[in-house]
Structures are given as structure tokens and as C-alpha cells.
């Protein structure tokens, strides 16, 4: 029962926040609405018995990404000297195409039959840890490399010309 209620709350918040992200004229407000959406997503993770992911989501996304985007907006906005207006173009085309894609995906979702929910894992965190250093050790290292490269790339791009 609680699960159903929790789902609907999270779902409504998520969808509303997403709509706000794409429709708000003010970019700064959009970023804030994105933060709300990301928290709602974390709630969904919690409902799916992944507390670790909920924490990771809050830390990385709602914390890190939102901060970066805010900084970027402030940097670009300040240099221009005014808040950037958002007037979307060809709204109807975009809405139509998005709706079409949604319907397409929905078609596949509805075709699948009902799937029973299996029993929850006892200790997801331990299993996750074991998986990361076990079968998924190699991708983990690659992710590390990727992060280093991304850091270097971002540094290089953002450097001031001397």
C-alpha cells in the first residue's frame, strides 16, 4: 500500500518537475526544477529497493551536476549582463515527435505481460561491492580512467589563454 502511494507521489513530482525544466523561460529556475526532478528520481530508486543508488543520486546528481550547471549559467549569464530568455522554437514539432517516441516505447511496454516481483535481496550493498571488484572490475577501472580524462579535458577547455 505504502509502496503504491509512494510511487504515485514520486511519479507526480518527477513528471511535474521535468515539465517545469523544459518549459520554464528562466534558465536558472529550470536548473532548480531539475534538482527537484533528480531528488524525485532518487525516491523512485528507493522504492525499487536500492538505497545505495538513492544516496549516489543525491550526492552526484543533485549535488554535483546541479552545482556545475549553476556555475556555468552564472558564468555565461554574467558575461552577457542579463538573464537569458528562453523562447523555444518549433514547439509543436518537438511535442509531436516526443509524443510519437513515447507512444512507440509504450507500445513495447504494453506488449510485455505482467512480471511478478521477486523477493528483495538481503544486503544489496555487499553484493554490489562484490560485483564491482569481481566481474565488473575492468569497467570500474575504465570509468576511473574516463573520469580522469574528463577532468583533464574540462581543465584544458576552461583554461585562460595566456
Amino acid at each position: 500500500m505504502t509502496e503504491i502511494l509512494g510511487f504515485w507521489v514520486a511519479a507526480v513530482v518527477l513528471v511535474a518537475a521535468s515539465l517545469a525544466v523544459v518549459l520554464t523561460p528562466n534558465l536558472f529556475h529550470a536548473v532548480l526544477w531539475l534538482a527537484v526532478a533528480l531528488v524525485a528520481t532518487g525516491g523512485v530508486f528507493l522504492l525499487l529497493d536500492s538505497p545505495f543508488l538513492f544516496a549516489a543520486q543525491l550526492l552526484l546528481y543533485a549535488g554535483g551536476v546541479v552545482t556545475i550547471v549553476v556555475f556555468a549559467i552564472m558564468l555565461t549569464e554574467r558575461l552577457v549582463g542579463e538573464s537569458i530568455r528562453q523562447t523555444s522554437r518549433f514547439v509543436f514539432n518537438g511535442a509531436a515527435l516526443s509524443a510519437a517516441v513515447f507512444v512507440g516505447i509504450l507500445g513495447f511496454v504494453l506488449q510485455a505481460g505482467a512480471v511478478a516481483r521477486p523477493a528483495a535481496a538481503a544486503d544489496q550493498l555487499r553484493d554490489l561491492g562484490r560485483a564491482l571488484v569481481g566481474p565488473f572490475a575492468f569497467p570500474l577501472q575504465l570509468i576511473g580512467v574516463l573520469l580522469v580524462i574528463a577532468l583533464l579535458g574540462a581543465l584544458y577547455f576552461a583554461r585562460t589563454e595566456d
Binding site: N93, L97, S98, V101, G104, I105, F108
Partner: protein, 611 residues
């Protein structure tokens, strides 16, 4: 029938070819002049000797044996597509002897006649002569239409090269091109006829064709058209009306060349071809009748034009056209033997006439007969030789021209061709008239301008004397060989009378001055007018050429510019336009590209659903 040895025939053929290769390829030899001439003359003498040997050692064979020896040239499944070889019957052997003899004599004559030429030009001249001898012999010995055609074209090429020997003279260059063009017109018909014949029968070879023709098994649709087309080749090469206009202009070449090519050998190739292919022509009597009529008409037409000519070489050219008409008339009347007899006799005395004219021109330094006179007194031997040849041409007994002309007239009469017969008799009268006009004007009468008494060069003199002796010998041989059975008794007397009348008229007009030539031509004013302007045939040809060819080229140019280029241009313009339109897809806005990606994803989803 007598058959010659194929090996000797090949030797005769290749001796002048080797001489040509040596002179053409070894540059120092050619540029040295006299040594090249020596090589060519030696090769020609050897070829003559071989030809005579071939005649001596000919073997008798029963009628109907295949006289040809073939080697496969273009192999194909089911027999070779084309063969080369030699066909060595009596006519071919006699023709070989004639060609090699006249070539040799002309080449010796040229040694003196062209003594002033720079050595490289002389080398070039003798190279052409060797090539011509090779081509003519190849034509004569051809066992099939394909080989004959190849050598036919080669001979035409040599004619072009030799007429235009003095290529820096515009008139000579134009005359060479004209000769080539007009004979090419006839050759178009020739090659079309040969191709159609091959298409129907699958073979070029004479042996196969004649055998089928003789047995009556030759099943060819439109044989009349085919043989007419083949005859067109002879019309061009042997200067029949209306393709005779190139021969008078061909006199721009050196006189020995005129003697060899345009009197004795090349122009007779057409007559030879018709005589050779007679078994096929015999199947289409309508074409033969046409051949006879055209021949007779050409003879008369050319004779009228010769009567008003001042240039001695032009007179001889028209005379050649006229005599070629005689030969063709004999072919058409059904007697290729008579045609061939006249061909060989004419070859000898016409060559003598041309070479003698060369001496005359050399002496007077002009071609115009009205500026000559009194040469007989100064040079009796030259005059004597010339008069002998003229009597032979006029058909006076006992010279070879009389017998051969009688044979031609007898054949025409036998073929019941009345009007051609009348035309040929009239031509005989005119021939005697205009030839003796030349004789009286050039050799008798008063010398207009006093000239130095230097003797003609030895080579030229000796050659003329040799030819004169040969003419007399041929006449005696014909005399003792007996008359033809078909000739009616009154025929020889009639032809003699015509000749005598012509000689008398010429004597009265130009020697005795009893008749005024001006009043004579006034009496025949319209004819004289037309004859002087060559009956406007040249003008008609030029206008037709300009009209047809240039008009056609304009049409083709239009098609090329607007249709062919138009298609290509339209295609490229379409490609450019399409490209321009397509580049609008590249807006540079990433969002538009995302649109594309999203559309693609949509399509994928739809496709996955439908599977």
C-alpha cells in the same frame, strides 16, 4: 587454261615491297636519292624477270580448276573468316608482266626526267613507286574481294601520294585530294557491295563464288544491287561518267606518274575488276547493259572534251578516259577478253604517248600545244615514236590499237547494243581527229619560238624507243594471231574509214589550214561551249559536296551541341541542383540533427513492432 606458279607470284609481289621497305625505313638510303632509285629499279627489273619466268613455266590445267592458293588470315570456327593468297591465271600473269614492265620503264624514265629534284624528294618518289607496284600487283593477284579491296585502297593512296608529289604546289595538292575524294565515292559503293555479298554468301573468295555462279547455286537476294554497288568502285577508279572528273586534274603529277598510274595500270584496275568478277556480273545482265552504256557514253563525252583542250597532258587524260570507256563497254557487252586485250594494248601505247609528251614538254618548256611546232624535223626519232603511238590509238592497221578496238566493237555489236556502237564509232572518229590535231600542232608546222638543240636525255629517249618497238611487236603478234570469228566483214573497213576521216579532218584543219578551226567550233557552238566548260560536271560536284556535306555537318553539329551535350549538361545541372537542395539538410544546428536521430529511432520502433 594456264596456271602460274604461286611461289613465283608471291616473289613478284614481294620484290617491290621489299624495295619499298628498304627505301622507306632506311633513312640515309632514302635521303640519298639516286641509290634509292637504283634499288627500286633493280627490284622492278627482278620482278619483271620473275613475271616472265612465271609466264614461261605456266602449266596447262583443265578448265574449272581453282587457280587460287589461299592462306588463312583471320581464323574462326568453321573456316577462316578471311584469307589472303594469289590467283594466278592467264589474265593475272599478263597483267603482272604489263605492270612490272611499264613500272620498270617509267622508273628508268624518271631517273632522267626528275634529275633536277633534290635527293630526299627523289628517294620519296621511288619509295612511292615501289609501294605502288606492290599494291597494283597485289590487286591483280588477289584471289578474293577482301584482298582486292585492301590493295584497291592502297593503290588509291599511292595515287594520292604521287599526284601530290610536288605538294607545295596548291594545284597539285588540290588535285590529289580531289582524286582521292572522287575515287572514295566509288569505293563506298564497292565496300558496301562486298559486305553485302559476304553477308549473303559468307565468303570473299573468287573460287567459291565463281564455282557457285557457274553451277547456278548462288542464292543471293538483290544480286543486281550488289553487283551494281561493286561496279561503282570501278566507276570511280576507272573514271567512268560521272566520276571521271578527277583524272584530268591528276595531270598535276609528274608526267611519268601519269604514264604509269593514269594510263596503264591504276585506272585499269576497275576494268580488271569487272573482267575478273565477270562470272558474277554475267548473272545480272541488266547491270552489264548499264556498264556498256555508261562506258560508251563516257568514251564519247571525253572525246568531245579532248577536242577543245590546249594542254597536251589533258588531251591525253581525256583520251585515257575515252579508252577506258571502250574497255568497259566491251565488259558490259559480254566480252571481258576483248576488254582485257584493249587494256594491255592501250597500256603500252598510252604509256608511250605520255612519256613522249614528257619529252615534248621538256623540249618546249610548255604544255600548250598552240605554242609548239616543228619538233619532227629536229627530233625525228621522238616524233616517229609518238606518231606510231598515235596511229595505234587511232586504230590504224596493223598496230595493236586496231585489233583491240575491232574486238571491242565486235563484242558490242554481238551484244546487240546499237546506240553504244554508234557512240563508239563516233568516238573512234573523234579520237583520230584530236590526237592528230596534237601531232600536227606539236610536231609539224612552224616552230613558234626557236629553241636550243639539246637532245633529250638518254634514258627518256631509250624508253620511248623501247615502247615504240613493243607497240609494233604487239601489233604484228595480233596480226598473226588471227581475227575474231564474230566480227562482221564490214567492221574493220568501217573503223579504218572512221580513223582515216578523223586524220584527214585534222590534217585539213591544222596542217593545211584549209578549214578554220574557229569556224569549225562556231558550227558546233553549243557543244564546244559545254565541252570547254567540261559540261559543268565539276561545278555540280562541288555544289553537291558543299550542300550535302556542309549541310549534314551543320545538322550533326546541332545534334551534338543540343542533344548530346544537352543531355550531359542537363544531367550535370540536375546533379548540381540536387546537391544544392540536399545541402539544406546541413543547417549546422545540432537540434535539427537530433530531430533526425529521433525520427530514425521512431522508424526503428515502428519497424520492430511490425516484425
Amino acid at each position: 587454261m594456264r596456271l602460274g606458279s604461286p611461289e613465283l607470284a608471291v616473289l613478284v609481289l614481294f620484290l617491290p615491297f621489299v624495295s619499298f621497305l628498304l627505301i622507306a625505313l632506311i633513312r640515309p638510303l632514302r635521303r640519298s636519292g639516286r641509290p634509292a632509285a637504283a634499288v627500286s629499279i633493280l627490284a622492278m627489273a627482278a620482278a619483271l624477270l620473275t613475271a616472265c619466268l612465271m609466264w614461261q613455266h605456266a602449266i596447262d590445267a583443265p578448265r574449272g580448276t581453282n587457280p587460287s592458293v589461299l592462306w588463312s588470315w583471320l581464323p574462326a570456327d568453321g573456316g577462316p573468316m578471311a584469307s589472303v593468297g594469289v590467283w594466278v591465271d592467264e589474265m593475272a600473269m599478263q597483267m603482272c608482266m604489263l605492270v612490272t614492265l611499264v613500272s620498270l620503264l617509267v622508273q628508268i624514265y624518271s631517273w632522267s626526267y626528275l634529275a633536277d629534284e633534290p635527293p630526299p624528294s627523289l628517294g620519296r618518289y621511288y619509295a612511292y613507286h615501289s609501294l605502288f607496284a606492290f599494291s597494283m600487283l597485289g590487286l591483280v593477284l588477289a584471289p578474293g574481294f577482301l584482298q582486292m579491296f585492301i590493295f584497291w585502297e592502297l593503290v588509291g593512296l599511292c595515287s594520292y601520294l604521287l599526284i601530290g608529289y610536288w605538294y607545295d604546289r596548291p594545284s597539285a595538292a588540290q588535285a590529289a585530294v580531289k582524286a582521292f575524294w572522287i575515287t572514295k565515292l566509288g569505293d563506298l559503293g564497292f565496300v558496301a557491295g562486298i559486305a553485302m555479298l559476304w553477308g549473303s554468301t559468307g565468303t570473299f573468295d573468287f573460287a567459291t563464288l565463281f564455282q557457285a555462279a557457274g553451277a547456278g547455286t548462288l542464292e543471293v537476294a538483290g544480286l543486281g544491287t550488289i553487283m551494281f554497288l561493286i561496279y561503282l568502285g570501278a566507276v570511280g577508279k576507272s573514271a567512268q561518267f560521272p566520276l571521271h572528273i578527277w583524272l584530268p586534274d591528276a595531270m598535276e603529277g609528274p608526267t611519268p606518274v601519269s604514264a604509269l598510274i593514269h594510263a596503264a595500270t591504276m585506272v585499269t584496275a576497275g576494268v580488271y575488276m569487272v573482267a575478273r568478277a565477270y562470272p558474277l556480273f554475267a548473272l545480272v545482265p541488266s547491270v552489264l547493259t548499264l556498264v556498256a552504256w555508261v562506258g560508251a557514253f563516257t568514251a564519247l563525252l571525253a572525246a568531245t572534251m579532248a577536242c577543245v583542250e590546249r594542254d597536251i597532258k589533258r588531251v591525253l587524260a581525256y583520251s585515257t578516259i575515252s579508252q577506258l570507256g571502250y574497255m568497259m563497254a566491251a565488259n558490259g557487252a559480254g566480252s571481258p577478253d576483248a576488254a582485257f586485250e584493249h587494256l594491255t594494248a592501250h597500256g603500252v601505247f598510252k604509256a608511250l604517248l605520255f612519256l613522249g609528251a614528257g619529252i615534248v614538254i621538256h623540249h618546249f618548256h610548255t604544255n600548250d600545244v598552240f605554242r609548239m611546232g616543228g619538233l619532227f624535223v629536229q627530233r625525228p626519232w621522238v616524233g616517229g615514236a609518238f606518231v606510231v603511238a598515235t596511229l595505234a590509238l587511232a586504230g590504224v592497221w596493223p598496230l595493236p590499237g586496231f585489233f583491240s578496238k575491232e574486238a571491242v566493237l565486235a563484242a558490242v555489236l554481238h551484244g546487240r547494243l546499237t546506240l553504244p556502237f554508234v557512240m563508239l564509232m563516233a568516238t573512234a572518229f573523234l579520237t583520230a581527229f584530236y590526237m592528230f590535231r596534237v601531232v600536227f600542232l606539236a610536231f609539224f608546222g612552224h616552230a613558234h619560238h626557236p629553241h636550243e638543240h639539246h637532245a633529250p636525255p638518254l634514258a627518256m629517249d631509250l624508253v620511248c624507243r623501247a615502247l615504240a618497238v613493243l607497240t609494233l611487236v604487239l601489233g604484228l603478234r595480233a596480226l598473226f594471231a588471227g581475227h575474231h570469228a564474230e566480227a562482221p566483214a564490214w567492221l574493220p573497213w568501217l573503223s579504218l574509214a572512221a580513223a582515216a576521216a578523223g586524220i584527214a579532218l585534222a590534217w585539213a584543219t591544222y596542217q593545211r589550214h584549209a578549214l578554220d578551226p574557229a569556224r569549225l567550233s562556231a558550227a558546233l557552238a553549243p557543244l564546244a561551249f559545254l565541252a570547254r566548260r567540261r559540261y559543268f560536271i565539276d561545278a555540280i560536284f562541288a555544289a553537291a559536296y558543299r550542300g550535302v556535306l556542309l549541310g549534314l555537318s551543320r545538322v550533326i553539329g546541332w545534334v551534338d551541341r543540343y542533344l548530346v551535350d544537352g543531355v550531359v549538361n542537363a544531367l550535370s545541372a540536375a546533379a548540381l541542383r540536387a546537391g544544392d537542395q540536399l545541402r539544406r539538410l546541413q543547417t549546422g544546428h545540432p537540434q535539427d540533427y537530433v530531430y533526425g536521430v529521433a525520427l530514425g529511432v521512431l522508424l526503428l520502433l515502428v519497424w520492430a513492432q511490425l516484425r
